[in-house]
Symmetry: none
Subunit: 605 residues, 2 copies
DNA sequence: CAATGAGGTCACCAGGTCAT
DNA sequence: ATGACCTGGTGACCTCATTG
């Protein structure tokens, strides 16, 4: 169930996250039809959300026609439903990239392209000439826009009546495909990114940056135009070989464990192996921390216990923790161009990105690939992080009043509203980068917690995955101004709670407000806050923790230290301490609320 | 926000009321035939629609153009005529609210808006500026008043060329939509049932009973065939209900809101009003409880701190908490403008069963209406409750080893497996009934908590909704035998953790086990457990609480009392106390895990 | 047999039409 | 310009033939 949480069968195909996904692109909504040409641009995603049958994602499929048994899990190699899977990986249509329903006319293709090709040849239809350059890129979303090009693509990928293959798949071939896919998969997985941050050489470098993958966005380029003829390739396809990717390394952290309530646990990524640099700077496990010993690096402006906004270090939604996955995905996708893959739930490694990036609000159910993606991205773009990295600013696109469009209210954004006109790829890029510092900060903070690094790397990662949101929530409680009932956005602009609420950021925002209020009312000193934050982190949801005991011991030590500190500073220590502990379940709820909202957003963007 | 989440869109037309959810219901019952048959089967509904009242306003439609076909009956989801319906509900145009003619450019839209949007993008028209504030509300009657705003609205609701969907609606999606609608409906419905339990005359009487609405409906009821004409719902469905069951009680139990993280909160049901009887037995607000003062009524067999299974009172998943009458829904529907909407005359309410009973584990993603329904039901059937109500027993249907079918592992069940052959309605019935006692017990327990009844009724309900699962988890921690690593099911049979896990109840079960282990290791006395349980309840997720302060005060008192008690009984009081508090976030996570699993189950049964 | 794909079917939708 | 209708697809599912 785990990963499945959201979608099930189809599983995350979403290639892209970032850029990749060929689809999505072109939109053209309205106006500048020309736009189409650009087609590639949008980062896509939306489709990615796949899972849900909803429009966004790849098509559907899922029936389950055969009455018979089939307990999926069992045989890795094939699953039931209409979609063709290979060991948990979903095959994609060679023509349009949608989920393939089988091997049709010599190629893995979706029902749509299969039918289209059948009709084409049966009736020997002569499609009318392409209006453009006869080189339209064919992807799920636009496959119906130019029949001529679609047919051409069909032929180019090798569809032919002569290529039909009846009967069951020869074992040999199956085996071979499997191998190829696994190879491809292996290249993309693991949590190396987080791993890097934690145990890598230097946290300093921005994780996403070094990655060769142009990531985001850009990607469409390769395939665009004529791709066609290129690879009729062998039927089977899989040219899994990685074109270039020199380093390949990085990237991916495929967590798929939903940030907090990690259902699936990270177990899967057994092979964390990968690289591990030293740096384990050793702290003895003794816990009792010194004052300020491991506070967040960036200092708060001083002054009030917690000063608001400006000056705060980056902030984000732990996005990257899960995010990176997208890149790889994309990489992978492009790599095994044709039939990519995506893995389905219980398969191997996780990889999906199902993950939901932790971002904040949303609402409204519409859908709309082009826009939606864009907005999804922008949802968390421009976070406070921008303060740190002055380069990002969306402010210019922000206008005073909320546009009638969909809102994505997230205090960590520059503003509660985003200019929908921004090219989505740009938004996405900024988005990724702007979160890096936030996550990095949390990771660095974690590393400074005495004893944290003594946990197994797996558990360190698990705790971070599960707890980053909570840590950030505590850290940025001060963004919520209780008295004025406003939230300061990264742009420096303040919005009243009411205004935001009217924009759709109801419940979650409300709860965050309440939480902040209560937390701040305890008037903790910075040290206490840091210690509390540490407690929050090690108290994160434990599903998936390997060495529970160690975590508990650490938590115990931290709590003892916290208690000591509080006893020293507060008269009513017992009360304060208890209240603080009671914040933990609140944080957990908040985390869930957030995840749910995100999920809802994904499902009904 | 939530409520709307769905898209609005719905309107009830379904005149015939009766059984209601045609689709779901009947489909399943057919069980055996499974597959193909399903198709044609449905008797129902659609035809009836004809009656469609032309509602006053909306445009016309009514044609039924195609002479042919009309076999439709089969497909529940949409009926023939030009308008799109889903299970009796008419979909409305997301742009203007008129009756939608289908899913155009990614959203449900009417012919008018569809055409308008098409023209707009095809010709890349630049409409002239809005004369007002560029924020005209677009509704059917004035949609032609301002083109700019209309187009803007089109975009904002998500219309896009990229979102088009061809071909027939995937079953999956259809199902999902249904679910969403139900959810939406459910959310709006209130918690009248809980309300009844809390403030109703006597907890003894069954809540639903008095309610006119046969509700339940959901059930597979007999309705099938002719149902239509007959009567307004009531008759039909209700009858079906408990044939024998003395206490029709529970009946439906439609909960669906994930117990805890209730996003929508009860807000919608502002008018909780309904009935309120006295019984508010007044307790002064003084909290400090006496020993055992408000322990669960049913006594444990004595002996070990907590004895397993047998003897335990009913247990269930707080299912009923969320359920409620459908009446309000309708009320809500009519009230809320936006999309939603309009319900047809007698519409009683929706009622589907989609609901997911809060049950425990599951897994495997296949689908299959027939079976699925049945199993869904049985999922939580036969709970410990059976002990109390000796009349229910599934044991007979339980066989030692797991059948090849899908499993629904829930320790609260009689067994981890259920006989799929049981007629679903029966299962459902038993299911409902068996949970009633559990919830009732929790409610009664809550009422005995000093001060609880002094909270507003709304808040009492909210806390119970959010916390019942957690309370039950604490209460039944003893079902998990740590040493033997087994779980005792209601049938008295024990299952090893490994066996269960292999059946698919992985993570959740694991976490429950761990939780139980930790909790039991504290060796609390019964009184302490009761007090702790009380703390758990008042510490439930607070989104939606009106008078936060009162809840906090109460929590505070309870915690103080708990602390006192612990201090008295334990040497290492501080440690025990702290550990206890740290169980709260764990419970929250468990609750979420459970909700997620449930959700996943709903989505991919 | 059982897996698996070609074809067929028909629910559904983008677009085009044309009376209003 | 609008929107009720029509037409020409499209593609989710199903049936049936083919093959290991």
């Amino acid at each position: 169930m785990e990963s499945t949480k959201l979608g099930g069968v189809i599983a995350y195909i979403r290639s892209s996250g970032s850029s990749l996904c060929p689809e999505a692109c072109l939109s053209d909504s309205s106006s500048s039809s020309t736009g189409s040409s650009s087609n590639s641009s949008s980062p896509s995603s939306s489709p990615s959300l796949s899972s849900m049958p909803g429009r966004g994602g790849p098509s559907k499929h899922a029936q389950s026609r055969s009455p018979t048994s089939e307990k999926t899990g069992a045989h890795p190699s094939t699953a039931k439903s209409g979609i063709t899977k290979l060991n948990g990986m979903v095959l994609l249509c060679k023509v349009c990239g949608d989920v393939a329903s089988g091997f049709h006319y010599g190629v893995h293709a979706c029902e749509g392209c299969k039918g289209f090709f059948r009709r084409s040849i049966q009736q020997n239809i002569q499609y009318k000439k392409c209006l453009k350059a006869e080189s339209c890129t064919i992807v799920r979303i636009n496959r119906n826009r130019c029949q001529q090009c679609r047919f051409k693509k069909c032929l180019s990928v090798g569809m032919s009546r002569d290529a039909v293959r009846f009967g069951r798949i020869p074992k040999r071939e199956k085996q071979r495909m499997l191998l190829e896919m696994q190879n491809a998969m292996n290249n993309m997985m693991t949590n190396s990114q987080l791993h890097h941050m934690l145990h890598g050489t230097q946290a300093t470098s921005c994780p996403t940056e070094p990655i060769p993958i142009p990531s985001t966005t850009s990607r469409p380029s390769p395939s665009p135009s004529a791709s066609s003829s290129s690879s009729p390739s062998s039927s089977a396809s899989s040219s899994s070989s990685a074109p270039s990717s020199p380093q390949s390394v990085s990237a991916d952290s495929e967590s798929n464990v939903p940030m907090d309530t990690s259902l699936s646990s990270a177990s899967s990524c057994a092979s964390d192996s990968g690289e591990e640099d030293a740096v384990t700077g050793g702290n003895s496990s003794s816990a009792a921390p010194q004052d300020g010993m491991f506070a967040f690096e960036q200092e708060r402006p001083a002054g009030s216990p917690v000063s608001p906004a400006r000056g705060s270090p980056s902030l984000g939604l732990a996005e990257q923790l899960s995010q990176s996955s997208m890149e790889e995905t994309s990489e992978y996708a492009s790599r095994c161009q044709d039939n990519v893959v995506a893995t389905s739930p219980k398969s191997y490694q996780p990889v999906y990105h199902t993950q939901l990036p932790q971002s904040w609000a949303y609402r409204e159910e519409r859908t709309h690939s082009a826009m939606q993606q864009q907005q999804l991205n922008s949802a968390s773009s421009g976070t406070y992080a921008a303060n740190t990295q002055s380069s990002y600013h969306y402010s210019h696109s922000v206008n005073g009043h909320a546009p009638p469009m969909r809102h994505l209210v997230c205090p960590m954004n520059t503003s509660p509203v985003v200019d929908p006109r921004l090219p989505s790829h740009e938004v996405w890029e900024e988005f990724s980068m702007s979160f890096t510092p936030a996550v990095k900060e949390v990771v660095e903070f974690a590393k400074r917690i005495p004893g944290f690094q003594d946990l197994s790397q797996h558990d360190q990662v698990s705790l971070l995955k599960a707890g980053t949101f909570e840590v950030l929530m505590v850290r940025f409680a001060s963004l919520f101004d209780i008295n004025e009932r406003t939230v300061t956005f990264m742009s420096g602009r303040k919005y009243s709670l009411e205004a935001l609420r009217s924009m759709g950021a109801g419940e979650l925002l409300n709860s965050m407000f309440e939480f902040s209020e209560k937390l701040l009312s305890l008037h903790l000193s910075e040290d206490e806050m840091s210690l509390f934050t540490a407690v929050v982190l090690v108290s994160a949801d434990r599903s998936g923790i390997e060495d529970m005991n160690s975590v508990e011991v650490l938590q115990d030590n931290l709590i003892r230290a916290l208690r000591g500190l509080i006893t020293k500073n507060h008269a009513n220590e017992a009360a304060v301490f208890t209240k603080l502990l009671l914040k933990l379940p609140d944080l957990r709820s908040l985390n869930n609320l957030h995840s749910e909202a995100l999920l809802a957003f994904k499902v009904h963007p």
